[in-house]
Point group: D2
Chain length 154, copies 4
Amino acid sequence: MPAFEREILVRFRHCDAAGWVFYPRYFEMISDLVEDWLEEGLAAGAPGLFHRRKILTPSVHFTVDFLKPTHYGERLTFNLWAVKVGRTSCELRIEASRQRELRMRVRQVLVFISARTARATAIPARLIERMRRFSVDAQSASPKTRKAPSGAKE
Amino acid sequence: MPAFEREILVRFRHCDAAGWVFYPRYFEMISDLVEDWLEEGLAAGAPGLFHRRKILTPSVHFTVDFLKPTHYGERLTFNLWAVKVGRTSCELRIEASRQRELRMRVRQVLVFISARTARATAIPARLIERMRRFSVDAQSASPKTRKAPSGAKE
Amino acid sequence: MPAFEREILVRFRHCDAAGWVFYPRYFEMISDLVEDWLEEGLAAGAPGLFHRRKILTPSVHFTVDFLKPTHYGERLTFNLWAVKVGRTSCELRIEASRQRELRMRVRQVLVFISARTARATAIPARLIERMRRFSVDAQSASPKTRKAPSGAKE
Amino acid sequence: MPAFEREILVRFRHCDAAGWVFYPRYFEMISDLVEDWLEEGLAAGAPGLFHRRKILTPSVHFTVDFLKPTHYGERLTFNLWAVKVGRTSCELRIEASRQRELRMRVRQVLVFISARTARATAIPARLIERMRRFSVDAQSASPKTRKAPSGAKE
């Protein structure tokens, strides 16, 4: 199954005093990626979900491995798969690579909640349908697309 | 064993359009906390490590659970323990709570590297010694200090 | 007249690939400073203004001079004066120094608006009263406290 | 003379608890814009300047007016002109609009410095040449491209 793919240029603002991406900035990139996935991949409209449907998608879990540092000026290719899609939450797998070298591997769990009640709300049916286009069997995700790095911790 | 403890006020700049802490800002808080731990808890001097010894401490792993949202104006109490201390890396456990309600639970792995060679370097012996003051048996950390939330994923 | 004074430690997260404070991070420091002034200097409660009174204080103007770079690990002393206090807006003068060396000089204009209507709203009378404690004649602010740098643009 | 133009989508990460762009995030957008101008407009390579020539371009001055708030999901059109080009510094004018409504107006002064010596260094001749493509007489900049907002402060 295809991933949702976006390229992100590493900006001066992403980098720390070592000239490498500072980890909170990686999470800003992830936020942008998921927003684009909702907006363009699922045609849900991340601003639309928020503005019109008063749905928020806070993250409740992250497992992240930073495998290699990334420098100012490099272009990272992000891939996103929907590993599990539940009634009110979904689990994403995200990988960021530069020229096929894996730099970061992420497991993220999002929950759909109502901004009005702050309680979990069912993911709209048409979104669940579209999420399936990006789903993948968790175990096979990485091997299919690229060699798993040796010494991976998962 | 005592944790390294710091209070962090949730600022306007930490919060998103829902009025809750935006997750990349939590990682900025973690960065500040670890800096204070190196500087004050270990008397290592985070700027000192960087400026004088050319040692960097990049993060290579995070496991994070966000258990409850946190709002603008709340004060979070952060606790940090050194769960494992190796030759060139250490594993931290961090918890952020408000009035004993756990909001975030983190496992973070730091590696000590030389800024000159970008390779792992031994943690200075005096730091290893001081890290032990904040060490704790991983399994017992959370139960000792507060009830583990049900449905915890670890 | 006394300034509202706060010390801010330059964190790793503030610094760019040159090891200097990155200018968007200076504006984050200014945001924290103004928040503390509202909260502690004016006893207004910046979260209180926002949460209880639904008042926001967006900035509509900045004039900023960065006079010298500031490095990771340095402590900056921020001073804030209320140069002009109007019915719905106020003009602040902010200076950040390290050991009496001026690093940044700021003129900032804030407007008080209602979060409900997004229109300007009168600054509460008790706040105007308290702002006067931090007021200063604009022309004399800098000369009184320290020598104006040569080549200043204002 | 034509401006250097880029569109920037207002992201969730740019917005504060009021749902509007938080001003430090505007400065992050400005940083990206200037980086793109150096890289694409001047073919200088902002990473290239930094990595290969060890040239940094810190900002020494900003005058900024925020004329209207901008919301999550809106697209801003940024225009940049080189108002003055000196031997070691240049003055930029930047405007951000949504659908021809001016939201922010910026005057920014950049200095070219050597990362090795931290002193001002001559702007490379080929860059000065290319900057002229984006130059404009300061007074005429805004009127030519769009109506000046009433009540403008400059």
